[in-house]
Amino acid sequence: MDGFPVLLTILLAPVVAAVIMAFIPREEHMLIKCIAATGTFISMALSLYVYFAYDQSLGGLQFVQQIPWIKDLGVTFFLGVDGISLPMLLLTNLIGFSAVFASWNVNHRPRDFFILLCLLIAGVMGTFVAQDLFIFLLFYEVVVIPIYILVIIWGSTKRVTKEYAGMKLTIYLLIGSAFLLVGVIALFMKTAAISGVPDMSFTGLARAAQGLSDFDQKWLFALMLFGFGSLLSMWPFHSWSPDGYAGAPTAVSMIHAGVLKKIGGYGLIRIALYVLPVGAKFWAPVIAVLGVCGVAYAAMAALAQKDLKYIVGYSSVSHMGYVLLAVASLNVIGLNGAVANMFAHGIMAALFFSTIGFIYEKTHTRWIPDLGGLARQAPRLAVAFMLAAMASLGLPGLVSFIPEFTIFVASFKVYGGLAVVAIAGIIITALYALRAGANTLFGPPRPEYDSLRDIRGPELVPLAVLGTVLVVGGILPFLLFDMVNSGIVPLMAEISGALQLGGSF
C-alpha cells in the first residue's frame, strides 16, 4: 500500500460518514446507524492494519504524510505514527466503533447524534496522528463542541444536571487549553528566534528548544503541565471528570474516559516531555506527588459512591494518577508503563461505561442499592461488567495487569515511598470494584427485573470488541509492549542527555 494515504483515510472515514448522514432523511434511523458503523469500521480496520504493518525494527515515524500548510508559521500538515501514537490511534478506533453500537438504541434525533459522534471520533484521532503542534491544536479543541451538544441533548440528569455537566466538561477543557495555548505560542516564538526558521513540527521544536534557557523550559513546561494535566484529570483539577461522565450519554463517557483524556497524557509525553526535558525533570516530583494524591484521593472517593457512573468516574481519575506517576519516573520502563496503562485503562473504562449504559437503559437506574442479582437475568451483561471490573483492579491475565506492574517497578526505583502509597491504591480499587460488582450483579435476583432483556445482537459488539482486546492484551502482552517500547526508547535516547544535565527540583 505504498503511497496510499492510510492515515488520512482513517482520519476522514468518520467525517465522510458524518457528511453522508447529513443528507439522509432524519427518519431513516437504521440507515443512519449503519453508515456510522461503516465509517468507524473502516477506520478501525485500517488502524488495525497499520498497527500490524508498522515495522517495529525500523522504528520512528511511519506512514508519513507531509503537506506544507502555513509557510510563515512553519506549519506542515504532518501525519505519521510511531510506537507511542499507534496504540492510542488503535484505542480510539476500537472505542469509537464500540461506541456506535453502545448507542444503538438512541432513537431521539439519531441523525444529529451520530453526526456529532463521528466528528468527535475524528477529532480525537487527529490529535494522535498529527506530528505538528499546530495541527495537533486544531484537532485538540475540535472535540469540545460535539461533546457539549451531545451531553446537553442526550445526557442524563441525576446528581447534577446535564447542562451543568456539559458546561463543566467544556470549561475545564478550555481553561486548561488557554494556558496550554499561551505556552505553545511562547514556545513557538522562542524556538523560532533560536533556530531562525519557524517550525511547528514536534521534532523541529524539540531540536530548537535545546537552546532554551533552563528558566524558559521550566515555566513553559508548567503551562503545558496545567493544560494537559487538567485534561488528564490530574488531581486537584479532576472534578470535571466524575460529574461530566455522570451527565454524559454512554458513548461520550466511553470516548471521553477511554481516549479523550488520554490526549492529556499523550501530550505530556509527546510534547511537554519530549520538547522540554529540562522542565520535565524540574517538575517531575510535583507530577509524582499530584499523581499519587490523585490515586489515593479518587480511590477513596470511589469507595463512597453509590452511583455506578461516579464509581467509574473516580476510578478513572485514580488510574490516571498511575499514568502521572509513571511519567514522573522519567525512565524507559515508566513511560512504557504510562502509555500501556493509558491503552489498558481506555479499553477497560469504555467497556465499563458501555455496560453501565446498558444497565441504565434497561433498569432506568444506576443507583447501586436499587440494583442486585442482575447476573441471573442478564448473564452476558454480567460477563462484560465483571471483565471490566477485574481489569480495573489489575487481574493478571487481563490487559491492565502488566502496565500497572511496570509502573510500580519503575516508580519504586525513583520515588520509593510514594510508589508504596500508589500500590496501596490497588487494594482500595479492588474493594470498590468488587463491591460494585457484587451488589449489582449478585445476591438475590429482584423480581422487578425479571422481564429484563439481556444484551443481544448489535449490543454485543462492545463486549466482543473490547472484551477480546482485554483478554488478548493480557495473554499476549508483547503485542502492546513491543510496540510502545519501539516508540519510547528512541524518544528517551534523544532527551536522556538533557535529563541528566538538567537541574533537579
Binding site: 506544507p68 500548510w69 502555513i70 509557510k71 510563515d72 508559521l73 434525533r109 444529529d112 499546530f134 491544536l137 486544531l138 484537532f139 485538540y140 479543541e141 475540535v142 469540545v144 463542541i145 457539549y148 451538544i149 446537553i152 441533548i153 447542562e163 458546561m167 467544556t170 470549561i171 478550555l174 481553561i175 487549553s177 488557554a178 494556558f179 495555548l181 499561551v182 505560542i185 511562547a186 513557538f188 516564538m189
Partner: protein, 474 residues
Amino acid sequence: MNVDLSLLAPEIAMAILGLGVLILGLLVPKGSRHGLGWVTALGLLGVLGLTISGWNNQGFLYEGLFVVDQYAIFFKITFLTAAFLVTLGCMRYVDEMGDQSEYYSMILFATLGMMVLASAGDFMTLYLGLELMTIAFIVLVCFRRTETRSVEAGIKYILLAGMSSAVLLYGLSLVYGVTGSVVISEVGQAVTTEPVPALILGVAMLVAGLGFKISAVPFHMWTPDVYEGAPTPVTSFLAVGSKAASFAILLRVFVAALPGLWAHWTMLAAILSAVTIIVGNLVAIPQTNIKRLLAYSSIAQAGYILVGLVTASEAGIKGVMFYAFLYVFATIGAFTVAAYFYNVTGSDEIKDYAGLSQRSPLMAAVMVISMLSMAGIPPLAGFVGKFYLFKTIVDNYLWLALIGLIMSMVSVYYYLRVALVMYRDEPVDNTPISLSGPVALTLIITMVATLVLGIYPGPLSEVVNTAAHSFFLH
C-alpha cells in the same frame, strides 16, 4: 501635476454606483424596487473585482494626500466583501423596511467613506472619509424611523459620534499645531521621542476619538444600545465595516504618524486592550437579547484586535488585517441569522431561538460556527487569527496574552448558551424555516469561509504578509 486616476478607480466606481442606485430608485416605481438589492450586490461585486485587479497598482495621489498601498487595498477588499455579504443576506429585511434606494445608496456611501479612510494619507482625507462613513451610518441607524428604539439609537449615535468627531478633530489640530504638518508621513518625521505636553494631549484625544469608533472600553457605552436599536443589517455592517475601517486608520495614524511616541502609547494600547477584552466578555454573559450579546462580543473582539497595535510591528499589523478579514465572515454570518430570524418571528430574544436546529439546521449551524470562530476555537478561522495576534505579544506582554486567551475561553460560556437553546430545546413553533436563495448563499459563504480560513489559512496569510509589508515601504 500628473494624476493617475486608475489608482482612484474603485472610489470613483463606488461613487457612481451610489449615485446610480439613488437615481435608479427615483425612476423605478415604488412597488418594484426590490431589484435594487441585486443591482447593489452585483455592483459591489464589480467594484470588488476592480479593486482586486488593482492589487499591484500602488502609488500616491495629490502629494501624499491619498495613499494606495496594498495595505489600503486589502482593507478595501475587506469592506467591499462585507458590504456585498450584508446586501446579499438582508434583502428581505430591507424590503420590509421600504425605501430601498435610500438604504442601499447609504450603504454604498458608507463603504465609500471606509475606502477613503483606508487610503487617507493626511488628516484632512482622514476626517473626510470618517465623516462620510459616520453620516451615512447615522441615517442608516435610524432607518426604521417609525420605531422608537431605532430613532433612539439614531439620536444616541449622532450625539456621541458628533462628540467623538469633535474630540478627534481637536486632537488632530493639536498634532498639527506641534508638528506643522497634516500629512501623515511628514508628521511621522517631525514627531520626536521627547514630546511636548500638547502632543501628548493630542494623542490622548486621538485615542479617545478612534476608541469610540472601534468601541473600545471605556468608549463603548453607545455600542449595545445602538446595535440593539439599529436595523440588524445595519448593525452587522456597523460592527464589521465601521470597525475595520477605524482600525485601518488607527494603525495608520499611530504606527506611521506617531512612531516616535511609541514608548508612550504602547502601554496605553495594551491596557485598553485588556480592559476591553475583560469588560466586553464579562458583560456579555447576562445578556438575553441576541443583538446585545453580539454587541458586547464585538466589543471584546475589538479588544483582541487592539492587541495587534501593541507591538506596532509588521507582525502586529498582519495580525490585525488577518483578524479583521475573518471577523467579517463570522460577524455577518451571525447577524444574517439574527436578521432573518427577526423577519420570520419578529423577535431578537435568545429564548425564542429554542429548537432552531430543528427548524433550520443551516441557520443554527452558521450561528454556532460564527460564534465559536469569534471565541477562537479551532479549526475555525478565529483560532488562527488569535494565534497571529497573540504571537506578537508573548515576549513582552505575556500577561495580556494570558488574559486574552482565558477570556476567550470564558466567552465560550455565553456563546454556548445560545447553542444550548438552539440545540437542546424543543421548538415552540415547529414549522421549518425555509431560507430564500440569497440568504442561504450568504450563510453558506460565511460558513465555508470561516471553516476554510481556519483549516487552510496559508494563502490568505501570504496575501496579508505582502499587504502588511507594503505599510512600511513608504
